[in-house]
Amino acid sequence: MTANLLSVRDLKVSYRVGNGHIDAVDGASFDVPRGSIVGLVGESGCGKTTVARALTRVIADNARITGGQILFDGKDIAAIPERQMNALRWRDIAFIPQSAMNSLDPVYTVEYQLNEVLRRRGGLSAREARMRCESLFEMVGIEKGRLRDYPHQFSGGMRQRVAIALALALNPKLVIADEPVTALDVIVQRQILDQLRELQTMLGISVILVTHDISVVAYICDRTVVMYAGRVAEAGPMAGVLTRPAHPYTMGLRNAFPDLAGAASGTLTPIDGAPPNLAEPPPGCRFAPRCPFSIEVCSTESPPLAEIVPDHRVACHRASEAPVLREIAARTETWLAHA
């Protein structure tokens, strides 16, 4: 048994667009230790959802995993035949989608949809399935009388709980949650995150939490993987990455978000500009065009993901100067001057 439930190595996912292709994920590597919540964070289009979906191997018709390994429990699930992969789905790797409204089938009751996975995928009898449905609803704090309700009869937060119950139905080892609270208001966000954390601890499962919201990561995650333009910019223990970020992008991201815990930290500073067009990515570091600290080498050579302190990796040419850069990055004018 390996310490890491999941190890993604140099994963590449490519979309065919017209005659060309876009490498939405271009060599992503990170680990998910057993029993931990790993936050996969980055802005829209950075490839985080593509990574999440690639782990299930249910990806868009025009997408393809073009390289790398996905070691799940020591087995490379990027390379196994589809039939074997399908056996793993939901039993070992479950998924919580962003919008539970659209991801629940509107014409069936939630009980039907729970039963579907319990019986078709879990092989439970009708009796066992009914009991399991009730205990799952109890687990996520919905009264069991509502099992017979249809998805549209639930509120947004409740639906997300249903989605969590659905994901936990077959006792998976890994739950991938793709922006599970993004569509909810902050109060409900917090309730759902608390519940997710509680269940994760209770069941000892691993969770990958995909989000664009760094405050969600700060609130719930053990580890963080910061993605930028299809690559991992920085990865490590959550506290280390967020309190002592070594990548300018993480520093900027931290300035750009309010705190979910409520501490008003003054002004928010956005990172100017937009991520690069992945059809023609810039040579060298992909963040260089927006980075206030870029030097010559940044626009010619791509920085490798290297360990700066144990268990904390960063892909930046100036990683060794991180403490100094952090101080400069904390000032608003750094980012304004660059713009």
């Binding site: 249910v58 939901w90 998924f95 629940l104 089938d105 509107p106 996975v117 995928r121």
Partner: protein, 325 residues
Amino acid sequence: MSHLKAVASRTLQLALVLWAVVTILFLMFRLMPGNPMAAYIDPTFTVEQQQALMAQFGLDKPLWEQYFIYLGNLLQGELGQSFRYREPVAERIFALLPNTLILTFSSLFVAYAFGILAGAYLAWRRGSAVENAAIPLVLMTRAMPEFWLGMVLLAVFSFWLGWFPAGGTRPAGADYDSLWALYTSRDFLSYLALPALTLAIYSQGLPLLLMRSNMLDVMKEDFVTMARIKGLSNWTVVVRHAARNALLPVMTSFAIAVGYQLQGNVVVESIFSWPGLGRELVNAVSASDYPLAQGAFLMIAVVVILMNLIADMLYALLDPRISHA
């Protein structure tokens, strides 16, 4: 209960629509040029005889009075006397209605069963050679006029191959103990085959194309992707989730199709000498048999309106978002 209330308000709407139809029918025949009795009254009749006949049919009364008499009679199920057959219109119509309904529904069931399955299949095989060949073919069947299609089928399967009879509902001289015995006989089926096939070919395009495009939309929905992530079988994903949802608008189109079909029946029943309401309607209009034409129109309107009600209720049954809103 809100459920009952919905049904009640829907029924009230139906009554209003029906009243409007009835009124339009009443006015339509009275606004048509010429005397409604022209075909019925021999020009050699004396003026007194003509007026006596007019009085017998109540045509000497003012329009508003005629209207109320007409409404009152309708409420009692009285549709008047046919000028041509000199028998009650209601009797005539109810004798023909089963033929029309059997033709309409048998052809539509075939068309919808085929259309739904083929549409779902073509959506699933999107971009394949099968799809590329099938879509123009379907569009072609949609474009073929039904009278032409009917005549071609008649020429090939009846006159040339001799597989099916050319028209009517039963062999000459054949007699049956009851209508039920007729409708369940093999003869009847062979007479039904060609007209029903004509209508089925003509109408399968709508459910097919509708089902296909709905499927293509639904297949992009999150819950279909989720069903795949759940590791459910292809069959479960495509049939239980995608097709089940794509089916909803197709079911509503069925009711609308019944309306179109009754209209299409006029042509097909004439070609295959099928003794139905449509053919009778054509004959009644050309013979200026206004009471009969009026009755036939009314019957067709009633069927269409009823089908709409059924479609609404069916939709509520199939889509929990409607019934549990």
